[in-house]
Amino acid sequence: MRKVAIIGIGQTPVAEHWEKSLLLLAGEAVFAALSDANTPTVDALYVGNMLSGLLERQEHIGAWIADWVGLRGIEAFKVEAACASGAAAFRMGVMAVASGEINSAVVMGAEKMTDSHPDDTTAALATAADADYEVIHGLSFISLNALIMRRYLHEYGWQHADFAPFSINSHTNALSNPNARLHIPLNKEKYIKAPMVSDPINLMDSSAIGDGAAAVVIVPAEMLRGQQPIISVIGSGAATDTLAVHDRREPLWLSAAEKSAKQAYRQAGVGPKDLDLFELHDAFSIMAALSLEASGFAERGQGPRLGLEGEILIGGRIPITTRGGLKARGHPVGATGMYQIVEVVQQLRGQADGTQVAGAKIGMAQNIGGSGATILTHILESS
């Protein structure tokens, strides 16, 4: 297998882009990535997206976007794995280039959510859960996370307020990210008093949905001989679990996160202590804790401690959500995984203005689909 390098990145702000269609957003991100890579064309396009069929009544968006960006004729597919669609597309692209079958590709995520009625968006997001055995019983995507959080508080004895540092960190980091959805400082009092959504999860535990697209250009690293620095993908892992939370033997353990992280660590030959930053999937504050635990940064039930002790801040032991995370950069579901990859590249290039992790060499991204049924972990290195 060939080592794969990332030579270009592009992103649109995450926002309510009422004036821009899915196609316009996708095009913006692709053009930015191609221009950043200084290349006019690629051999293939892989696009992560979850909701185009449900909300836009448009499928077949691989060919649709390829034509729009002037790449008519190339291989192009949509990859879907709920909120993990972005990282799933990335893994498809990385494997295609690593295998030798494809010599260059654009991998992107694109999502358009805010044109639809909020009820339709909620219903569409719920399709990530089990329709017949979870959703008809009144469980939305949010309430499934609420069940997990309730059980977590019960088993490990944490208070809701102990999760505040996760949301505050994401909001603080987003202040320096011009592409973030929210530029609103958050403190503990505002966190505690936020309106309830599905108890114990309130509005300040929950990520902000939005429209957006993010893209990268990948090529075999061997093409870049002599250039420096090279940012390459040194680990990629993917795993699954049951769709329904109630079917899991251990509902408080993200087994797919553990499996995919171990797979990525093994490939990369690194461990949690070697990482300079971790873009994790804080769709809800509870997911930040579970992701840190399953990826080897905290013992079971001890994730909140890393927040309370400041270890997740820039300059801490393991900085997370350095550009705002899902909470504040925003969560354009199928695009989120690609925003994470773009942000890790920014950090490794030293371009994370305002929240740069000093001397960052190795960064990880973890993208979660549904309430943990699909999880992908990627490790990037600058050398």
Binding site: D119, A123, G138, V197
Partner: protein, 139 residues
């Protein structure tokens, strides 16, 4: 034995008759909800229906203030929150369900571990009529 026997429709129909039925693999002595026509442990297809206990305890619950579409249509939402949760049946099997008998303004009045009893209800009209399983907290 035809595999269609263990369909979602058959499960629903039995709920309508007031029975919570799972498919059971005699070889592994394991029960499955949703009912599966094939055992994912031994790949055996000699499944049989088995009636599940209707008593259990709460494994997790949440009071939902921002409701999904189906629940808004059923009259719930911001002004009328409801409770849903995961129930662990007497035999250890878990499933999701709406939880009734809860003062939603005081969710702390129930606890993980509270006892619950199944109730079989139907919602919708005519062709859209559908049997539901809900669980009521027993005080």
């Amino acid at each position: 034995m035809s595999t269609e026997k263990f369909s979602q429709t058959a499960y629903q129909q039995q709920l309508g008759e007031g029975k919570l039925m799972a498919s059971h693999c005699p070889a592994c002595d394991a029960s499955y909800l949703p009912p599966r026509p094939m055992c994912p442990q031994c790949f055996g297809a000699q499944m049989e229906w088995r009636e599940m206990p209707t008593r259990g305890k709460l494994a997790a619950f949440t009071v939902v203030h921002i409701a999904p579409t189906a629940m808004i249509e059923a009259g719930y939402g911001r002004d009328n929150p409801y409770c849903s949760g995961i129930v662990e049946l007497k035999n250890g099997l878990k499933l999701s369900a709406q939880i009734t008998g809860v003062d939603v303004s005081q969710p702390e009045s129930i606890k993980i571990g509270s006892s619950v009893q199944a109730e079989f209800v139907s919602r919708g009209e005519n062709d859209d009529m559908r049997a539901f399983l809900i669980f009521k907290v027993i005080v």
